[in-house]
Amino acid sequence: MALASNKIKSIGAAQSPLLGAAMFSPAVLYILLLVGGPFFLAIFYAFSDARIGNAEMHFVGLENFRSILQSPSFRVAIRNSFIFTICSQIVVTVGANILAISLEKTFRGRGLIRFLILLPWVAPIALGAIGWKWILDSIYSVITWALVAVHIYKPFSAPMWLGEPRLAIASVLLVHSWRLMPFSTVILLAGRTAIPKDIPEAAAVDGAGFWRTQLQIVIPMMRPIISVAVLFGLIFTFTDMTVVYILTAGGPFDSTQTLPSLAFALGIQGSDLAAGAAISLFLVPLLVIIAYFMLRVAHRAEVN
């Protein structure tokens, strides 16, 4: 009996916690040092007057936050961040659902279409955004040319897509939606293929037409996966500065600035580390909320 219990122990030891710790601790240590560390450093900077090129720094309390909150460009940035994030997610979710439905069945050329549709997501966004910058060029824009060709605008009277605040905001929104639609589509597609074929068939036999089957059965069943796509989409757009930086660099007149791009403009380009850090900390509350919902979705999926 004693021998037997010994044996069991030794098998238990094969689950060796030491070996386990040895295997994951390098990664955990690295993440603590280079994600955790900088994160607290960011908080630290936000309460200081740190500047690039100035070794000294002092604790200044809420001073940075106070001056940020009073700055008009910050208010524009936070407004834009929300506009871009929310509007693009609406466009993306509607579009991706339609697209996922049309890509669900196999047909000839589906692989090619899928590749083409995916390009905006899989190609580096900095490069895709330059493509758009050329399409939206102030003089040689193909869109302008087409609008002139169909006589909506007279030559030389067409608007400058990236030169007027409202149009620039719409353009950034467009590029964000363009970028995330493929991502959302493939995730929703994965969700669709995970629904047993029986279910839409049962709905068809029960007398439901195409729309009723989609709206009352399939899409409600896909709620968890749609939330995943939306949550990731929110994060990607909310924290992105590449699109804005390349398309408009925040302009014209800071009208397309977002929290990350403003943080970059002040913190790195303007050398005011403290202000930059304080601005980027405003990303945290939304990230925390999203993370909470993400874990809830994952947890529910595990329970079911």
Binding site: P17, W134, G191, I246, F264, L273
Partner: protein, 282 residues
């Protein structure tokens, strides 16, 4: 009879229309890069010309310019170098960590796994300011090594997350059998689990590499000199001289850099998706 046929016809028509519209909307910028890359400047910058057509003969001038007059090739090289090193670091850190989190630890493993997943949600735009100081402190400004140091902050968490799912799908009995047959736990990991997981590890390799090529914020913050740029920053910043955009060369550069990455990503797409769906799809 006719009713069924006409319904099917309309259904098909709508399907084709929807697909064409979306495909054109999404792929258009890349088509536009393609056309622009081969147009003569005279053609590009004459407003009366129909931009959809070649109004003058196609030319390779822009591509030649790109490869001879710019540091484009150097940037490709930089990107490949950083990519390879980051892949290596990511594998060394993520593979054992993912395995131990998937197998060895109980509740703590689960908590750590969630923690790792959450770090993936921490964006570069939150960390680039403090990290720029860390990089400066280490004397790595304007060095590719700064990127090599920092890039694993986003490749490691997601790779661990992906691999954990992969390792969990390997039946435990397999390792039990190996240990009964005389291998140690670590031996079973090296000799059994890793060979079985080659495709999962390959996914991580490709994924890490594409993430490195797509990164922008850190490269923009840490790298300043022209010859140390990655493609993502070199093209938009250094192919523009002052206010002059070399659109032909720019578009050629975008296309040439994008397509291989897109192809790689596409091959492993389904696996990446599995990493994003957080178990919401079984």
């Amino acid at each position: 009879m006719a009713k069924g046929i006409s319904r099917r016809f309309w259904g098909k028509l709508v399907h084709v229309l929807v697909l064409t519209t979306f495909t054109i909307l999404l792929a258009f910028p890349f088509y536009w890069m393609l056309i622009t890359s081969f147009k003569q400047n005279l053609d590009l910058y004459t407003m009366e010309n129909n931009p959809f057509l070649f109004n003058t003969k196609p030319t390779l001038d822009h591509v030649k310019f790109l490869f001879t007059e710019t540091r484009f090739v150097r940037w490709l090289g930089n990107t490949a170098f950083v990519g390879v090193v980051v892949v290596a670091i990511t594998l060394v850190l993520a593979v054992p960590a993912a395995y131990s989190l998937a197998r060895l630890s109980g509740r703590w493993g689960e908590r750590l796994g969630i923690g790792i997943f959450l770090t993936y949600l921490v964006p570069p735009t939150l960390l680039f300011i403090p990290l720029s100081r860390v990089v400066a402190y280490l004397g790595l400004q304007d060095s590719l090594w700064a990127l090599i140091l920092v890039y694993p902050t986003f490749t490691v968490p997601f790779s661990i997350w992906l691999l954990m799912g992969f390792f969990k799908s390997i039946p435990k009995e397999l390792e039990d059998a190996a240990m009964v047959d005389g291998l140690t736990r670590f031996g079973a990991f090296v000799k059994l689990v890793i060979p079985i997981s080659v495709s999962g590890i390959l996914t991580v390799v490709i994924f890490t590499f594409t993430l490195v090529t797509q990164e922008f914020v850190y490269a923009l913050t840490f790298i300043s000199s022209e010859s140390n740029q990655m493609i993502g920053t070199g093209i938009p910043i250094f192919l523009v001289r002052g206010d002059v955009y070399y659109w032909g060369a720019l578009m050629a550069a975008c296309l040439i850099a994008s397509l291989p990455i897109a192809f790689m990503y596409n091959l492993f797409l389904d696996r990446f998706i599995a990493g994003f769906t957080v178990g919401a799809v079984k």
